[in-house]
Symmetry: C2
Subunit: 246 residues, 2 copies
């Protein structure tokens, strides 16, 4: 089985079809990393991410783990990956983990940021990681709605996968919203998120901020267990996985 390595990754998701490998030839982040590790190890290596990120979603602190034969060190692994990975994927940290460590199963908390430019035009240097809404938002109304979305609930209304068979109960610990000049950031902290869940919550909160919905609707959206009741799926480009806690 070899040694279990844990890595922390940064990536600009813009030109990828998301995290998850979809076959040998697909342009995914998992696929890119596995290809470099296979070259290093001389045999196929499977990596486990803390969760899938959608096409176009970014990461400042994605975590993954994988097993390599003896004879490597975290420093060598980090250096090798950073040398051969494309310039939009970067290993920030590599370390040896306990044999049983699994980046998805052992994750206890995840933090996402969703960035929205409310001004007419996005910052030219930040444009790839912001959603260009271009309209002002009522932050106070969004905060009221956000508070009503926190807690332990069945988040089926906020799940992009309508065929989801497993439990759709999750705990959202905290949603914070702040504005710096024309840039609005939503921070989501939870024990795990369903497919598209952060983006649907962001879209719903944006609709509240635009005055298209009232914050007091939130409990009804949750109770409906119906995706149609929630807001739109905010674009991938505004979303970034900031941190995974164990």
């Amino acid at each position: 089985m070899g040694q279990n390595y844990k890595i922390v990754l940064q990536y600009e998701g813009t030109r990828y079809n998301g995290w998850q490998r979809q076959g040998r030839t697909e342009n995914t982040i998992q696929g890119k990393i596995e290809a470099v590790l296979e070259r290093m190890a001389g045999a196929p290596v499977e990596i486990h991410g803390s969760g899938r990120t959608d096409a176009g979603v970014h990461a400042m602190g994605q975590v993954a783990n994988f097993y390599l034969p003896e004879g490597q060190t975290p420093e060598l692994v980090k250096e090798y990956l950073n040398r051969y990975l494309p310039e939009d994927i970067r290993v920030l940290q590599a370390e040896l983990a306990l044999d049983r460590f699994h980046s998805r199963l052992n994750a206890v908390e995840k933090i996402y940021h969703y960035q929205i430019e409310t001004g007419k035009k996005r910052d030219v240097f930040q444009r790839r990681i912001q959603y260009g809404l271009g309209k002002p938002l009522d932050i106070e109304a969004m905060r009221e709605a956000a508070a009503l979305l926190c807690g332990t609930h069945d988040y089926k209304s906020f799940c992009g996968n309508q065929k989801m068979k497993k439990s759709t109960v999750r705990t959202v610990k905290n949603i914070e919203i702040w504005q710096e000049k024309s840039l609005v950031t939503l921070m989501f902290v939870g024990n795990g998120f369903l497919q598209h869940m952060v983006r649907i919550m962001a879209g719903t909160l944006i609709e509240v901020g635009l005055g298209e919905r009232l914050s007091r609707q939130m409990p009804y959206i949750l109770a409906s267990l119906d995706r149609q009741e929630a807001g739109f799926t905010a674009p991938a480009e505004g979303l970034c996985l900031m941190e995974v806690r164990y």
Copy 2:
């Protein structure tokens, strides 16, 4: 002659052949802006930048001015430009200026930043605006050298245009150098800079930081008035025009 407008601009220079228009079809920042203004005014408009930035160089605060017929307002000009300019060029500010205001002739001070990643790999979100050196730098030695490059001097050794006929005397008021984690930033403040001057100073200081040159060579490089004596021209991607003061 119409009304004189002053605009402050941000751009990611990566995909442009620099600021200066080089004919109708060239891919330059000046050209892009003039094309939009011509559309707005219904007649050709010439804009004056505070200075040319090289191909690949960025700006957080480039300043330009131009004359438009009566009937526009700064708000309309800003909105129109931001609507039709590509997403890597953005107008931060537009205002009416005095008739005689000229963005280049009236500039009294310019501030540039040059960013260097000394770690093995650049931040994926910042990579387009950093030079990926990938080696550690001796910041103290660079500061010693930088102090010796400040003052009022003939900077001919740091001029990329060897056929320059006008004066090559300039005043560099201050060069500050700081490091945050593996990112080193050089800040240059001066009353004006010759062609490639900031990049040649950055390259020379990098060579000092790598131990390839001694800081005490700086006065001799200046005195030589010989481009061959100075260091390499650091890559355009690390350079950003931060501010122009009037």
